[in-house]
Symmetry: C3
Subunit: 345 residues, 3 copies
């Protein structure tokens, strides 16, 4: 159903430049948008595409409005504006409330919730209003899923874990498996330490496909409000992730690490255990964080890639870096001796 | 059931050296093959095992045929030949066609397809001829699975995604979860951007266990024909992977990366977003690709490992590499001054 | 139900210092323990917390017993002792034996086993005594699960694979998917090699959430007794992992690697294929192991992280390491010439 620009502005703020009666039916990029679509210009590097866009209208910042060949919604934060419009126009179709005939449910479920085919919900679990539990999900005894949360198919929640309100949990995610804790016995075999803590997840958290968050050993693993976890992330036992921190795909966080608020961690980064990271820290993709970070800022520890034959020559030197430093020191001493001799002569 | 060498050659080409009536019942390595098994010699480094093999016969290249103590199938590409024979001899037992009584199917399914126990298939999904959907799979509304494709148990396909013909999708794979897209609001909380694109997967694609391919934000995520993805891979939104490219386990590809055709990416490599990689590029295992690669070739960016105590000495130097370069420059200047003085004296 | 210290010592050894009639109901850290809880002091760095603990009693080593303000259990290995007590006090509640009405079971199952809702067990599978198969698990035809093993919900075991006794397998784990084996044809398309080996897993193995272990190509993939695998690990085809080796989260092991006994591998490390690692090797987190390791010891290959602006300066030098080495050599030659001249004058 088409929506007029002036309706959008009435709801989300900003102002229309051009014809407010222009109607749009969806969103698209500047490059691919057609005549019924609304686009946006957030990153200045796409500015060149503005002149040629075939969009019905464009969301953009005041300083970009000049060159816009079509109608525009002007706002200081076009990307945020676009995010809000995108949610509004594209709310995923909510399945019908009710418990599917094939679901096995040992807990009380509000009438507004939707429990999918072959889902299993253990005894004493607490399911909030408007919760969606997808097909083949498994919710352990005593677990808690807050109001408005949506679990896609094949999610596993272990007993006693708690997910807050409005969570989105994608397929294959596992919440509350045992942390990795063992002691060595006299024969050097591993003896398991019971993992008796829980996973406590705040409100407005998103958890990506295949991401695993382990339960605590004694105390709990804690994910604070507004945290966003991408796919294939591993969160060890007793980790705490501060509010509004976002982790990209394939990040691994070892046990008992404490990560601050509003941090970002790039894809594939590894954060070792028993360390702490301050608020507002940004860790680059592929970085290994092996000690605590006490101050806000950006941190990186990766190597440049190069053509394989160049790499062979260059990186072999890494084995001899210490020797190189010694050679430089020796050169400095010899040179100083020569210079000394020259001054004296 | 035994197969004669001359039957194999009649089907797959090549020529028999020795007794074509030799019959084999299966395949094995040179080292472990017994008297009823066919082996192969593809990698010259295993040549030494040829003389001692107990195999009934060996697939090998013409230049290796001389030293073969048993019958041989001679072909210019023994490994490829072996692959074809292995598929022919070891077609996995196809489950009976039909919809299991416990499956929940809201779509039309051809009589030749097999839908396993507790599978769920949403409204309007399109299932091709001879498709196998394993136990506990979840196929979202409007998704499409091409003819001859095989989904192992516990696969999740989100609504609207499309998988081509003859795909193999392993357990735990997740196709079409939301891409990781958020905008920051004024309070520095993340506002979700609706992910409205699809995942479009070509023909003859294999997808490993636990691999996740996110749906596009606005446009689609595209996996072209013949792509092979190993286990635990993460493919971000709006990525495009060119035909016949193969990615090893644990690779992560960030959003909007475009990867060429016939590329290979080694295990654990990370490819950042919004960059492009040419056709026929080979990225080594563990490499972080942080900018575009415009030319075919092999690229590497990893560090050598060493005994931990050597590493402590060497790699501490990395923190002072810039200072080392400065010292070298200073030495060069001082030395030039000395040399100059000597020439003048 | 409370347990007295002297009961614990009667069962697990060690000796009580203080009042053996003190009763505890659970375990907690030194910092968080309350008056009914037993704590432990294993790591000397937490010694400072001992004086202030509110625990009912503390497990500790003889040399620490002096400063303990409450009752103590004294043992030479407090962490191991704590592990054993933790298991004893916290045995997870075993579900009722029996096959859930919604499970689809084509194999014989002993009366002591528990098969959860919507589980599927294929033909000829062998399920041991006291096995627990969680909700939505899929066990392929002919697979074998040893006595006392526990599979959490949503585990997939492929046909013919074997898991030993007392295994713990967490949600999302995939045992026995096809290894990643292909040959290139003349058009540079990949031709699949049938993966006909199995996965053979010994006794007392734990497998983390989302971990995937591929079946062998021709021979089997083997996980020996007592191996502990954390979450999100990828084990390629034909890998062998020696007894009592422990792998942390996100480790990737490429095909045909052979890893010794009692090894440890840190999080996110990548081990390439067709190499071997001796017994008692410790690989640091984030390390890429690109060649065999023949001797016990600790091995590392990672780079330090630093503030992003420092990294920009330092790591750019890595591209010129070979040139730096050349410059040092040139300086040495020039300096030697100068020194030579001076000696001659």
């Amino acid at each position: 159903m088409p929506v007029r620009l002036d309706e959008i502005v009435a709801r989300f703020g900003g102002s229309v430049v051009g014809d407010g009666s222009v109607a749009i039916t969806g969103l698209a990029t500047l490059e691919s948008a057609g005549q019924r679509q609304l686009s946006f210009l957030a990153n200045p590097k796409y500015h060149a595409q503005l002149a040629a866009t075939k969009a019905a209208a464009v969301i953009l910042a005041p300083e970009m409005a000049g060159g816009c060949p079509v109608a525009a919604i002007v706002t200081p934060q076009p990307y945020l504006y676009f995010a809000r419009v995108s949610q509004w126009l594209n709310a995923p179709p909510r399945p019908e409330p009710g418990i599917h005939a094939t679901a096995v449910v040992a807990a009380e479920v509000p009438a507004s919730a939707c429990i999918g085919p072959h889902a299993w919900i253990g005894q004493g679990a607490r399911i909030g209003e408007d919760v969606v539990v997808g097909a083949n999900c498994s919710i352990g005894a005593g677990a808690e899923i807050g109001a408005g949360s949506w679990l896609y198919p094949n999610v596993s929640v272990y007993p006693g874990c708690r997910i807050g309100q409005r969570a989105i949990v994608h397929s294959g995610a596992v919440i509350g498996a045992d942390g990795f804790g063992f002691a060595l016995d006299a024969e050097r075999a591993w003896v398991k330490i019971a993992q008796t803590g829980r996973v406590l997840i705040g409100d407005d958290v998103e958890i990506g496909a295949g991401t695993a968050i382990d339960r605590g050993a004694l105390d709990d693993t804690v994910i604070e409000d507004g945290v966003k976890l991408d796919n294939q992330i591993q969160v060890g036992h007793n980790v705490r992730i501060g509010a509004h921190t976002a982790l990209a795909g394939c990040v691994g966080i070892a046990g008992s690490a404490v990560i601050g608020r509003r941090c970002t961690v790039g894809g594939g980064a590894i954060i070792l255990g028993h360390l702490s990271i301050a608020d507002d820290v940004h860790v680059s993709a592929g970085t290994l964080v092996a000690k605590s970070i006490g101050r806000a800022g950006s941190y990186t520890g990766t190597v440049p890639f190069m053509a394989h034959e160049d790499w062979l020559k260059n990186f072999a030197r890494l084995r001899h870096l210490d020797a190189m430093a010694d050679k430089i020191r020796a050169l400095e001493a010899r040179l100083a001796a020569l210079e000394q001799g020259k001054n004296e002569s």
